[in-house]
Point group: C2
Chain length 432, copies 2
Amino acid sequence: MAKPHEGPYPERIEPFDLATILPQLEHPEQLELLGRLSPSRVAETLGHLRPEEQYRILHHLPEAVARAVLNEMPSDDVADLLLALHARQRAQLLDWLPDDYREKVVALMSYPENTAGSLATVGYIAVREYWTADEALGHVRKVGREADVVYYVYVLDALGRLVGVTSLRDVILAAPGTPVRDLMKTNVIQVQADTDQEELTRLVQRYDLMALPVVDSGGRMVGVVTVDDVLDVIEEETTEDVHRMAAVEPVAEPYLEASLVTLFRKRVVWLLVLFVAGAFTSTVLRHFEEFLSKVVALALFIPLLIGTGGNAGSQAASLVTRALAVGEVGTRDVARIIWRESRLGLALGLALGAIGIVRAAILGVESDIALTVGASQVVIVAWASVVGATLPVIGRRLGADPAIFSPPLVTTAVDGVGLIIYFEIARYMLGL
Amino acid sequence: MAKPHEGPYPERIEPFDLATILPQLEHPEQLELLGRLSPSRVAETLGHLRPEEQYRILHHLPEAVARAVLNEMPSDDVADLLLALHARQRAQLLDWLPDDYREKVVALMSYPENTAGSLATVGYIAVREYWTADEALGHVRKVGREADVVYYVYVLDALGRLVGVTSLRDVILAAPGTPVRDLMKTNVIQVQADTDQEELTRLVQRYDLMALPVVDSGGRMVGVVTVDDVLDVIEEETTEDVHRMAAVEPVAEPYLEASLVTLFRKRVVWLLVLFVAGAFTSTVLRHFEEFLSKVVALALFIPLLIGTGGNAGSQAASLVTRALAVGEVGTRDVARIIWRESRLGLALGLALGAIGIVRAAILGVESDIALTVGASQVVIVAWASVVGATLPVIGRRLGADPAIFSPPLVTTAVDGVGLIIYFEIARYMLGL
């Protein structure tokens, strides 16, 4: 054997980089490049491509090579690939897998997307609790080349139930005759196969794990989710949150590859919802139309006042949304949050109200209008801060994703009342 | 030895959970609980607390125990703790470390926050390339108990320069006499100690690493950053981005623990910037004041029209910002982005313009005003989409963090011109 890392030159290129290059090459070039790699290297490279691209490449490789590559791919990748194919293509690839492996892959395919089961690979190492450390190490030596995870060694009983976990380190450091039973930890951090992937990432982050075992409802081992899959899930979930934070339904495809129809649908939904909610501002202004026609100067400050209110509300909402997401606050803290935001909102409002008066004075409006602008700014900012901070907490309590309390939504939610505040203060100050 | 995981009952509780419980206990209870744990378990638990809390606990433990715990802590945690202390406390703790370890920790302390060097631990395993696999495994057995990372084995030359890396798996699977030279990979993915932590997380994500070696400018090994630290960095960076996306300067402290003064400062900065930029809307409206006084009904739709424009611009901005962040698009794609957004913006504008006309009709305004509202909505949404998508690209080219192109900023940027579009179209349609 020897030199596993020192093959011909493409073998030294990182799989991620190969995957970046591959789609830029013509077919014969792709085959020429892949032909210089070991099947396990090709499998790793395919792991960075999307299922359709994986299939296109497998399809063009000589069948013997394609079979070898498929058998080297982690079982979660194989399951994802098969799920993306048409029935006939799927049957062909399934046919290439050895019987026992095929069974496991088919089992993984039954778990819905975004669950722990769909992310799990069966390439873990299992030992029995009555084995010695030496026997366990011998087993690792036998199956380690094929495994996707070797640093944890899982202990299963005769029925395949997960009863403990130990690490390759502990196996190596133990005296050879030590039974695995004495090396294993029995309260294993694990998840059910139908656990949502977001919950799973939280466990890996908290408990500093490199892999998390997945079991079925009977406690039988299904597979393990590795930390690199967790990193991918985090990237995916962050993208969803960033999209939601700007009132876009999450778009799964890369921006330049998503069809215009998809982008249109993901955006128009929220634009329409916000338009309908925002239409309340026209109703409010209609109500004050006569008043406005007497003092047109009031109109000059409408965008500025409600814009600032929206900004203050958005700030409060996103601070609280993030604090909820990482578990710094819970719904039980709602009173403390309101108390903080009332004081903060008032302080921020006073600062902005002061420069609001200056701004109005510069425009040369009458002094009672300038004072109206200043006073309204104080109240609007304070009010928007409290509302912005409270909405995500209420949303969480109702079971909604707090990320939907985006700046656009918060802004829309506070605009109408902001206008009422402005005109009521104006009515009072101007004595109309 | 035996049973490392089966000590007295608190030993079976996860460090993360112990760290959650500890701050809720009184001092004597804390000491009683910690007294039942091994020093390495206490060290792991402290790793989940902040430096001030770590010190408070170390300070109250019997000195011999505290020394042992400190020596079990990963060196990056020790460096962070020491940096947070006053000179006298720091001197005391430094005194508890063995000479050679102290030197390494002091070296780590010299790297600025948020760099790879500040995250690195010196608890890695180093071997020489002329050792055999068997010698390397023997070395792992000798030092593995103390190490923070055992699944990678780093190969250093006589000067401490990183020349290769291999895995514990390859060492175990190799024939005993195989020289390490034949097992190692020489093009090691590595970072300089002053590399920004964001760049570091990108490498770990791309190349599916569990630890990333950090070297100094001479190529000498400084330490390794482990994937659990990378997960913490990602959480921290995501918090920063979420805050920036709502125009808040990133707040490092948990929401309920940050002082009101801190929260005020982090928020008022952006509110003032946006206020000043938004004040342009008053100038625009002042320009059209006479016109507005003749047709007050136009004012009814100001918040709705520019609000929708802001929403459309925010959507485009955040799609492009995220695509830039994950590398799906680059600044070279600016023409394609503008071309996509022109068409999308027009389609979205037509949809919203149509319901804008309906909304105006419901309010019972004259038909030429309703048509003005509809036409303006088309142009404003199209224009805002293009501007929103372009700003992050321009920002990236100028070296700014695209996350600052938040919905509040984009909304403010498009409001003024939105008003000009509205009133110019009105002037044309109403023939004034």
